[in-house]
Each structure stands twice: as C-alpha cells, then as structure tokens.
C-alpha cells in the first residue's frame, strides 16, 4: 500500500521552554507541564505513517497531545520540531516547509477536517448547500447547476434530505450538522480527512449512524483518515491501526485489534479494562 503521510518526530511546546522540559515530562513523570519553567509539552517525538485507504485512530484523554498533533498537520498550529511528508500522487509535500499560502492551498483542496463543534467547520450564516458550495467554488467549479447537483448528491450520500439544502445549518440537529460537515469535507474528494471527536456529544443512536456513514464512505472512496477520539468505541468500530497517547507521547501503537486484545502499556490496559 502507498504511503499518504509520514510523520517523524513531531513536537510542540507551549511556553518559553528550558533544557529540562523533555526529560522532566511525559507519562513516567505523570505530567506534561515542565516543573522548572512551566512549559506545557503538548506533543513530543510523535511519529507514524498513514497508508492509502487506511483509518488511523489516535486515542488519549484531554492533554494527551492527540489534538495538537492533528492541529499541526492541518496547519491550525505550527509545530516546534519534526517533519511530515504528504504524498499526493506524483508529488510529495514537506508540510512544515510550505509557506502559508501553500499550506492553505493544501488545506482547501487536498485535506479536510470534520470538527467536534460544527460551528468550526460550518458557517452558520449561510445555507447548508452554500457551505458545501464554498468548497466547490474554491476548486473553481463555477457552474451553478453543476454545483447544485453535486451538493444534492453529497447531501443524499450523507443522508440529509436534499430538500433542506437551502436551510441554515442552525435549524438542524447536532447529528444533521455533522452530516453536513462530512458532506462538505468530502465535496472535493480529498485524499486525506481528519476527524476530531466527530461523535462526541451526540446521542448513541446518532453516533452509530455517523460511524456507519464514515465507514461506508471510506470503503467507497478509499479516503485515508485520521480519527482523533477519547472514545474506545469509535476506535473499535472505525480504525485499522491505533496510536495511544498520554502526556504528549505515543505510548503504544499497533493494529487496533492487537491493541485492544493485548494492550502492552499499563495505561492502555486500564483504558481497555474500563471500557469493557
């Protein structure tokens, strides 16, 4: 399988930093806050590969660094160290060497993000269809009838009634808003999709339906995905491989089945045990 993304040694600190930050923090110290200078070591030495059509899960509690890692990859934040190479067909992009305009270009055309909070992914002042149209317009689709058709297809695919495409997203339920976000994210067939706690806060039945939808789409389009969650259920139902993070470090990585059946790290063991 072809690699889509390879991340090496990604690190991010918040604070002024000191020579002791790294050695004084991490799972073995039970903190991500440097006791000498107060710096938060949000992520350190995060490395992994993502292959075509694969769903990679990152699990951890808040402060584990899972969101920081994804934010850096989606250019919402800049890392302090490390590399990430995005392989896009013939081209390879060293993500952190790109200038801001190049980064925004990738973000708008080749990546997509579905946020936990639909407010971040959707503009509530314009119609659901308008939200999706924005991404299509960004990719220079300038035919109104074609845009309408594509929006209807996407909404049908994500099980939103196309007849509601001209309504404002604020009139929709939380689950519907997530479906619109997913439709928007998929509109340009991006090879790489980030999902940040997409089912958190939704009813259980709605959660299940959204997860099913994501799986179906992944099978249809073979989009590569990175799923960030604190919910073992999401990891279990979606992902092929899993990274477990704690205090900014990856403490365990492997095939999801393996991690769940035979967890190695004490923290993972506790996590799996508590979910049973």
């Amino acid at each position: 399988m072809d690699k889509v993304l390879s991340v090496t040694g990604l690190g991010k600190c918040y604070g002024k930093g000191c020579p002791l930050c790294i050695t004084a923090t991490g799972p073995e110290h039970d903190t991500n806050l440097c006791p000498y200078c107060g710096t938060v070591v949000a992520a350190h030495d995060v490395s992994f590969d993502l292959h075509e059509g694969e769903i990679l899960g990152i699990i951890g509690e808040s402060g584990s660094g899972k969101s920081t890692a994804v934010k850096c990859l989606y250019f919402d934040d800049a890392p302090d160290s490390g590399e990430a190479v995005f392989h896009d067909g013939e081209q390879s992009h060293a993500l952190f060497d790109l200038n801001a305009a190049q980064q925004r270009r990738l973000r708008n055309h080749r990546f997509s993000m579905v946020y936990q909070n639909p407010n971040l992914g959707l503009n509530f002042g314009i119609s659901a269809g308008g939200n999706i149209a924005e991404r299509l317009l960004m990719s220079d689709m300038l035919d109104y009838a074609r845009i309408r058709k594509r929006v209807k297809e996407l909404l049908s695919r994500t099980e939103v009634l196309p007849s509601r495409m001209d309504e404002l997203p604020k009139n929709f339920s939380g689950g519907m808003q997530q479906r619109v976000q997913i439709a928007k994210a998929l509109s340009t067939n991006p090879p790489l999709l980030f999902l940040d706690e997409v089912t958190t806060g939704l009813d259980l039945s709605v959660q299940a339906a959204i997860l099913d939808l994501i799986l179906e789409i992944q099978q249809e389009l073979s989009t590569s995905m990175i799923v960030v969650t604190h919910d073992l259920g999401v990891i279990r139902s979606l992902t092929n491989r899993t990274l477990v993070m704690k205090y900014g470090r990856i403490i365990e990585a492997g095939l999801t089945d393996q991690v769940l059946e035979d967890p190695q790290h004490a923290y993972t063991q506790r996590l799996v045990a508590s979910a049973l």
Binding site: Y14, G15, D30, T31, P35, G63
Partner: protein, 386 residues
C-alpha cells in the same frame, strides 16, 4: 426641455452658502463678531477640543475654524485638518519628555499623597451643575472684575517648573513593566496609512486626534461590561509642554514654543507574565505538576493617553482604550474595544462625519440599479409563483 439634473447646481450651492453665512451674522447691528481671543478664552474647552481633533496646534486658526463653522466641533476640526494638508513638513521634533511639562493641574486617584503633591488647578469637577442664572445678564464690568480680583489674590510662592511622575514610584518598586526604549521613529499617521496589524504608536497617534465622543463611547463600553480593563488613574496632567527642534546650524535642541496638553496614565490590573499567556491561550490542560516561576513576576499594566488642549475625558478614554488595544493586539480581541481595526477605523470624527454626510448627495444611479434588481427579482418571484 431642460436636463433635469441641472436644476439646482452652482447657483443653489452659492445661495445655500450665503444663507449659512447670514445665520452667523443674523443679529444685525446688535451683534458683534467674535474675536480669536474671545473664542480661545470664553470657549476654552471647545477650542481645546478642536485643537486636538484637528490635529494641528494653531490656536488662532482653531478659533477661526470655530467661528466660521458656527461652533460645530467636527466642522472646525475638519477645516484645521484640511489646512494642514497644504503645509509642507519642515522638520521633526525629537522625542519629548513629558515630565518637562509646565503643569497647571495634576491629580492622581491612585494615591492620596504623591511626590510633588496633588494640584487641582482649574477644574469644575466638583461644581454643582446648576445653571448660573446670574451669567444670563453679565455686565462687562462684573466680567472684568473676576479677572482683576483673581490676579490680585494670586499667591506669591512660585510653583516648581515640573513635577516627578507618579508612575516612576511604582516603576522603581518593580510593580510596572520595565520602560521600553523610546522608539526614535514613531508611526506617522499623517504620512502613512494604517495597514493592519499596526503598531502601538500608530494606535496612539490615531486616538490623539480622534473625535472625543467616539473615543468616550468605545472606552465606556469597555468600562461597563464589554471589556475588563478596570483602570485606575495614576496621573492626569494638564500643562504646557515645551517643544524643541534641532537648531538648523548647530543641531542642538532649541525650544521653539509650547503646546497645551492633557496627559493621562492609567494603571490596570496586573497580568501574568507573558510566558504563561501561551499556556492560557492553548487548550492543553495542565498536568498535576506545580508551576515554579523562574524569572518574570506579574506586574501592573499601563495605558497612555495624550492630546492637544485641555481635554480630560478624551485623555482618560484614550488611556483606557490604549490598554484595551494592547490586550487585543497580544491575545486577540474579545470585544469591540480591544479590536484595533474596529476602534481605529471608526473614531476619527472627520472621516466618519464626512461619510455620514455624503449620504445627502444624489445617489440616482445606484438607486436606479437597486430598483432594477428589485423589479427583476419581483418579476421572477411572480413567475415562479404562477
């Protein structure tokens, strides 16, 4: 058949201006024209306001501007500004140390006693706002008597030329951030447009000639809930600031005159040192470890306001907004008064009143275009309804 737009035009403008000029002189023989000194003294606060909003320190032309605009502060400030556009720049003053100001008034609400002492100076802060009906019929004799009496009772002891600054005491104690090096070149808003993000000196300059009411409204919004600056006036000073220019031959600074100024420094509640701000700005939850601060200590924060003339409300408002804008520049605005674009682009009286007035001009063409859109849309609507 005449061309419709021709109606009015040049003669109408001429007539309107003549009528406006007549209003200025409407009392006929009973009236007498205002002279510059009368405006500068008897309308002192108005005069101060025009000096500061006009952004040109020219007391005589400020009086003239007030006279010809019939006392409209916006129009008077405007006339001064427009005059300024015709004048070349001959020289630039070096940085001026405002502690050299010859004060007529200084107060601090932070301390009961301040080095050099409080000096109330001229103020009606504590006067009852009752109409002084006796002034309705003030005789010239009584008027002159006031000045005469006051000069006679003048105390003989001389005031020192300058006073120490209240903030210096706090600074010596380390309760204020260290004073940065004064920038040799401040941003010049009369020569460069504001392109955001802008530096603090650009914000200060814009506020120094802003419209008083606009500044007050935005500063007030911060005071009463849309913001959290909670200021204390460390020092409010009014006085004459000597202006120096380099001598054309020797290059030595020479005093060339003085300007009446109001200056205000506010102290706002302390802030964590900048290192911690990054942590506060992130969504990372701190672990269980304890923080040990090495290095910087929390300090009070400052806001600065200064403008031409005697304009206390303006100087205080400006100081509060300066503090609010600094916060917005560092951490991102969380309310309008902390947003540099929002504040700085909407406080200039000359800009905003001009734009408000321009709506009085004809907009036939754009309105024709609006009607075309509405009619077409209505027609479409009807067609789809059928």
């Amino acid at each position: 058949m005449g061309y419709v737009a021709i109606k009015g035009g040049a003669e109408a403008i001429q007539g309107a201006e003549e009528l406006f000029e007549y209003l200025r002189c409407a009392r006929g023989e009973a009236g007498s024209p205002l002279d510059s000194a009368t405006i500068q003294n008897q309308l002192r606060q108005l005069h101060s306001r025009v000096l500061s909003e006009g952004g040109l320190y020219h007391p005589e032309l400020a009086s003239l501007a007030i006279k010809q605009s019939l006392g409209d502060t916006l129009e008077a400030g405007f006339a001064l500004r427009a005059y300024r556009s015709t004048q070349p720049r001959l020289s630039e003053t070096p940085l001026i140390d405002t502690s050299k100001m010859r004060l007529i008034r200084r107060i601090s609400s932070a301390f009961k006693e301040i080095p050099g002492g409080q000096m109330l100076g001229p103020s009606n802060d504590y006067a009852l706002r009752l109409l002084r009906l006796e002034l309705l019929d003030e005789s010239p004799e009584a008027f002159r008597q006031v000045a005469h009496q006051w000069l006679q009772d003048l105390p003989q002891d001389r005031l020192p030329d300058s006073f120490p600054k209240v903030l210096d005491a706090l600074r010596n104690e380390g309760l204020l951030p260290k004073q940065g090096e004064g920038k040799a070149q401040a941003f010049d808003i009369t020569r460069e447009p504001l392109v955001f993000p802008v530096e603090r000196s650009a914000a200060l300059a814009t506020m120094a000639r802003a419209e008083t009411g606009s500044l007050l409204a935005l500063a007030y919004s911060n005071m009463r809930g849309y913001g959290d600056i909670h200021p204390t006036v460390a020092e409010l000073r009014v006085g004459y600031l000597p202006i120096e220019l380099p001598h054309p031959v020797t290059g030595e600074p020479v005093e060339v005159g003085e300007v009446l100024m109001t200056e205000c420094e506010v102290v706002a509640m302390y802030d964590k040192p900048t290192d911690d701000k990054a942590v506060m700005g992130s969504d990372i939850k701190a672990g269980t470890g304890t923080t040990q601060h090495i290095g910087s200590q929390p300090t009070f924060t400052l806001g600065y306001g200064a403008c031409f003339g005697h304009n206390e409300v303006k100087a205080i408002s400006m100081a509060i907004l300066d503090r609010a804008l600094q916060k917005g520049m560092q951490e991102g605005p969380s309310n309008p008064s902390e947003d540099p674009e929002f504040v700085l682009l909407h406080i200039d009286g000359i800009d905003s009143m001009g734009f408000a007035s321009h709506y009085k001009m004809p907009h036939y063409v754009t309105f024709q275009s609006d009607m075309d859109r509405l009619r077409t849309t209505r027609r479409k609507h009807k067609e789809t309804a059928l």
